[in-house]
Symmetry: C2
Subunit: 359 residues, 2 copies
Amino acid sequence: MLYEINEKALKLESEGRKIIRLNLGDPDMATPPEIVEAAYAAMKAGKTKYSSSYGEKKLREKIAEIHGVKAENVVITPGSKWGVFATMFLMLKGGGNVIVPTPYWTAYELIAKTLGAQTKLLRTELEDDWKVDLDKLEGMIDKDTRMIILNNPNNPTSKVMDEETLDGIVEIATKRGVTILSDEVYGAIAFTKTKSILEYDGDCKHILSNGFSKTFTMTGWRIGYIIANKLLVDNITKLNQITVNNVPVFIQEAALKGLELREKISSAIKLEYEERAKMASKTLAKAGLSFSQPDAPFYVFPKRPGLDSEKFTLDLLDKGVAVAPGTSFGDYREHFRISLTAPREEIKVALDKISEALG
Amino acid sequence: MLYEINEKALKLESEGRKIIRLNLGDPDMATPPEIVEAAYAAMKAGKTKYSSSYGEKKLREKIAEIHGVKAENVVITPGSKWGVFATMFLMLKGGGNVIVPTPYWTAYELIAKTLGAQTKLLRTELEDDWKVDLDKLEGMIDKDTRMIILNNPNNPTSKVMDEETLDGIVEIATKRGVTILSDEVYGAIAFTKTKSILEYDGDCKHILSNGFSKTFTMTGWRIGYIIANKLLVDNITKLNQITVNNVPVFIQEAALKGLELREKISSAIKLEYEERAKMASKTLAKAGLSFSQPDAPFYVFPKRPGLDSEKFTLDLLDKGVAVAPGTSFGDYREHFRISLTAPREEIKVALDKISEALG
């Protein structure tokens, strides 16, 4: 339904309707001008040629420094989604299965399906504060299990995994010889400390997926990275060589500029989204909805018992507000996802319409 | 050996040696400034968000107009290589084989291998003016043959396929129900008219792969396209959605600017490369090498009976000139490939060194 809602929103807009778009994780803010200028300067300096399928040395070194790994453990990808795909492509050759806690970013399951692998969904609930049940997780692992995919902080709940649970997952995965792919694209701008998978694992047995989209408002630039053991990094690079080749060097220079300014840029983004989250929490609580307080940008994932969120979402769109039904993130019909990716005054109007529609 | 030569060239350069780099198809010229400025204007206008996995409407329409197809037959890809990979990924699911005339761009075979498909190589020879033997081709098709991949004009020979042969290949493919993927990235800047696969086929039964790298000196920008039937375009788009998502919109705007200025840009490029090709032909003929006159930028693929081109290439590199051995393009040990992608004065020096080395 995620694509259907978006298509319908675009259609209504093309008919002249004003739609407040809270259905995607695409920030309303512009890419910081320093980043744009860095890209332009690099283009003018001729950084428009073929380049390494590993990514630029300077960028890999900077990322390695930030995460406390070696540059040889870093490969630059055209978006973090490509990093996830490439990792799954290489690890799920010949089938197998992958365990994914829900609610989840649907791309994981779509990729697995496209690669002929099976996805085993591990349900978590708002009422348990979205905690992964470790016994259930261990019970799901079988001889064909190749990976566990974590999304921490989570899309759509904006929940950061508590350390005890993460410790437990890593322990089980390590014991059972299953690799964790930890997608931490919201990690650097979380409101609370997010423990990274790399903190367990100086040797990069497990895998980190990350990107510049969310932290630096660079969604459409398509740049991310994988941190992994050298063998996987080399294999992703070989896959890059026969597919995407390289991320444009001027985009890598722009991303490097972002990293240099990351304290300034990410603290401004965090502050803005924390304000938006507070505002949303207040209104949604007043409307009688249940939800967990967001630990990170950009989402709230409220629940109303008995709600048919697909119908609700379509009706709400007719009232000029686009959100995403819970069914887009697994079997969560009573939930819907609000992306706080619009200016505050628009979010306010939208929240009032949501409250009104819920009656 | 292609990568080995390049790595060694980079290493020698880092040690302070001057290397004339004629080993890659990456032009020495800068991307035209109008294209750079169009990208910058688009970035500043906020065209830095997520966008359609089909590509931008305006760009698809312009490409459709140029090729005489519908916009729904066009999908934008991050480089033509991604277009080739995506097409092969979708068409070679579950194995099968693909027929590729040699000498060839090795990526085709590497992709097939990665996807678990078999490549059947169809040898052509300089002595036959690189003509495909139609009987041999037909004899190679079996029940598992899914595709024939043509590269027209060809890398490394710079030969444009004669119309009669192409007619024959299309006839055989159509009769036997095999799809042709025609990689025509050098087509728009060929010195002689190149008949496109689309001229046979208003319904896009066969597939065109094309890109902006060569025509517009945009190698590192990573933008290309596939023209195919709507079903394949839709399926590539679905694959884009779970992998690369979209080519940055500002890069698509830059490419559109290129297309608007294509007469001017491509005629300047053609002219320059025709001069370089003449210069190279003269010197190489004088050195007693056999080769076909280039019909297109950027390559010459000369032969010297008895030559061990791998040894020759490595020795030449020590003398300051990087070229590629024939073995990088199939079983062509007596050939080597010169890319005329350096300023004329450098090419001249390099050609003299090549003549000298051949003795």
